[in-house]
């Protein structure tokens, strides 16, 4: 769909910001450009919508050379999301989302419908349409920034470190949400970042750049398993190479399949006995058909014991859970980043099938180190 052929960008004084890049991107593919600052990743991306003009080479979209098109028209056909979010403070959320449709002279009714429809995609209340950007949190603002890029239904979207300015937890949530959205809408994405975690999580293919040239192109797994050279290895970081242990893939393979549970209609006293018996500090609460409802732990019981009698009265329902086919590395990530003790694993029907605890992580790390020693011993 998108094709770079020997593209070079030269600035005055003969400095090559981008040097002879060739790459082709398939329809619906999520491509992440990554590299240290000054590697040319942003320049490469901005050449796609001609915010920067290539000096040599050819970039084509669906076989059409972009240099033959009017840049303004071209940009309206390509979504664009920037790091600083760039929502216009003098426009309402509705006006911000429907800006490109307005430039394309859609009717007002169409624009309004489109804005409302898009806001539903990110599960935000329609009342936000009439609000102004400064009334929203950073995470909400960038959701709107993404919607704005989607508004005129461009098949291709460029994103320049869109989640870089957000706090880690918001970023984590938004990345997941966005990846789902991208899959369901089938958009082609070119995404620039310097955060390897982000790249591994989102990309179908990662393009690693250094000094204006491509060092390696591949799926996250390929890059983790076979880094092209020392630079890539170093850029990925040792700890991630450990996580990429090939024989462990989904959480189902490492979870404990017998989590300790209780139902909401049991008295708290019984909960304490179960905890004591199994020597655990947290119980997962499920209903009769094992659908996960929430959890209780020692702390909660300690605080509310005198006031309540049943588990259902003190249950915490805002629980972080993952589907059983989730990749291990994503879960590890959440556990470490959010500082949570355990993650319940559910199936497609929200039924509890297991639990991953910090202890399960120790097993993986142990396996990896031990495994490495073994293979070392063999080579010696």
């Amino acid at each position: 769909m998108l094709k770079f052929e020997n593209v070079t960008k030269m600035y005055k004084k003969g400095v090559k910001a981008v040097n002879d890049i060739s790459l082709s991107v398939k329809e619906g593919e999520f491509i992440v450009f990554i590299g240290p600052s000054g590697c040319g990743k942003t320049t490469t991306m901005k050449m796609i919508n001609r915010l920067i003009e290539p000096t040599e080479g050819k970039i084509s979209i669906n076989g059409e050379n972009i240099l033959d098109k009017d840049p303004v028209k071209l940009r309206r056909e390509i979504g664009y999301v920037i790091q600083q979010i760039g929502l216009f403070p003098h426009m309402t959320i509705e006006e911000n989302i429907s800006l490109v449709p307005r430039l394309l002279k859609w009717s007002e009714a169409d624009r309004k419908n489109r804005a409302a429809e898009l806001l539903k995609l990110v599960h935000m209340d329609p009342s936000y349409l009439k609000r102004y950007p400064h009334e929203l949190s950073g995470g909400q603002q960038q959701r709107i920034g993404v919607l704005r890029a989607l508004a005129a239904e461009p098949p291709l979207i460029l994103m320049d470190e869109p989640f870089g300015a957000l706090d880690p937890i918001t970023r984590d949530g938004l990345q997941e949400e966005f990846k789902k959205l991208q899959k369901s809408l089938g958009k082609t994405i070119v995404f620039v970042t310097h955060d390897m975690d982000e790249a591994i999580k989102l990309a179908d293919r990662i393009v690693i750049l250094k000094d204006g040239a491509i060092v390696q192109v591949g799926t996250p797994d390929e890059i983790l398993r076979e880094p092209a050279n020392e630079f890539v290895e170093e850029f990925i970081g040792k700890d991630r190479l450990v996580q990429a242990k090939p024989n462990v893939q989904t959480v189902e393979q490492i979870m404990n399949a017998n989590p300790i549970t209780i139902t909401a209609d049991r008295p708290i006293k019984e909960a304490i006995q179960i905890m004591k018996h199994h020597r655990v500090d947290t119980l997962l609460v499920v209903d009769d058909s094992r659908v996960l409802k929430g959890y209780i732990d020692v702390e909660i019981i300690d605080h509310t014991f005198k006031k309540s009698t049943y588990v259902g009265d003190i249950i915490k329902s805002d629980i972080f859970k993952v589907k059983r086919d989730t990749l291990v590395r994503d879960t590890i990530h959440s556990i470490l980043k959010r500082g949570i003790k355990n993650v319940p694993i559910i199936n497609e029907k929200d039924q509890l099938v297991g639990i991953v605890t910090r202890a399960s992580l120790v097993d993986i790390v142990y396996d990896t180190i031990w495994g490495e020693e073994e293979s070392l011993a063999k080579t010696i």
Partner: protein, 217 residues
């Protein structure tokens, strides 16, 4: 007190007429100033190197004594309202130009990039991004310039443009203090009222989202 009432009885109608003259000379000059300075200010942001030079030239014009400028236009445009308005227009340009230039130049670059990246053409960037961001600053320049002009317009009667200045000159020539006061006080009041009105307009033209943002900040 007695003499004020007496003065108003005799000259009340004329005073109103002069006040009106004064106001419209000033406002027309400001209007011309806006028409020239705002587009020029925006254009200057596109050529930053030239901008400095042009701003310096305009600043220099501003330092010419106002009486000299008025007198300068008499041989070219004769006497009356036209040369007065032209001379005042020259004065109105600088504050508006400077504020427009600064206001537009200081628009956060990320918004310009967002606009350009979404496919706005140059005119759409001016209309949807630069003007809304700069409008409070541009309006402040217009307000400042109007208040100045109301003061300077008293000199315009020197070349036969009428206005409240003619009372002041008559009073000076004939040594009649009540005439000086009759010219000075209404023009002062006018300046204060216009300042207030423009402050309202300034608030009103500031886009709602930005007003709320300023309050929140």
């Amino acid at each position: 007190m007695q003499s004020i009432i007496e003065f108003l009885n005799e000259n009340g109608g004329e005073l109103l007429l002069k006040t009106w003259e004064h106001l419209y000379i000033s406002l027309i000059a400001v209007l011309l100033g806006i028409i020239v300075a705002v587009p020029l200010g925006i254009a200057l942001t596109r050529i930053p190197k030239m901008a400095e030079v042009i701003m310096r030239i305009v600043s220099t014009i501003q330092t010419f004594p106002s009486l000299a400028i008025l007198a300068f236009f008499v041989p070219i445009l004769g006497v009356g309202k036209v040369p007065a308005i032209v001379a005042l227009f020259f004065y109105s340009v600088l504050p508006i130009l400077r504020n427009t230039y600064t206001g537009v130049k200081d628009v956060d670059k990320s918004f310009l990039e967002a606009g350009r990246g979404m496919g706005m053409n140059s005119w759409e960037i001016i209309r949807h991004v630069e003007i809304p961001f700069a409008i409070p600053i541009i309006m402040a320049g217009i307000r400042l310039s109007t208040v100045y002009l109301i003061g300077w317009a008293t000199l315009a009667s020197f070349i036969g443009a009428g206005g409240l200045g003619s009372y002041i000159f008559d009073g000076l020539n004939l040594y009649l203090p009540e005439f000086i006061i009759a010219g000075a006080i209404p023009s002062m009041i006018m300046a204060v009222v216009v300042d207030q009105v423009f402050a309202r307009i300034e608030r009103w033209v500031t886009p709602k989202g930005m007003r709320m943002k300023q309050q929140a900040a």
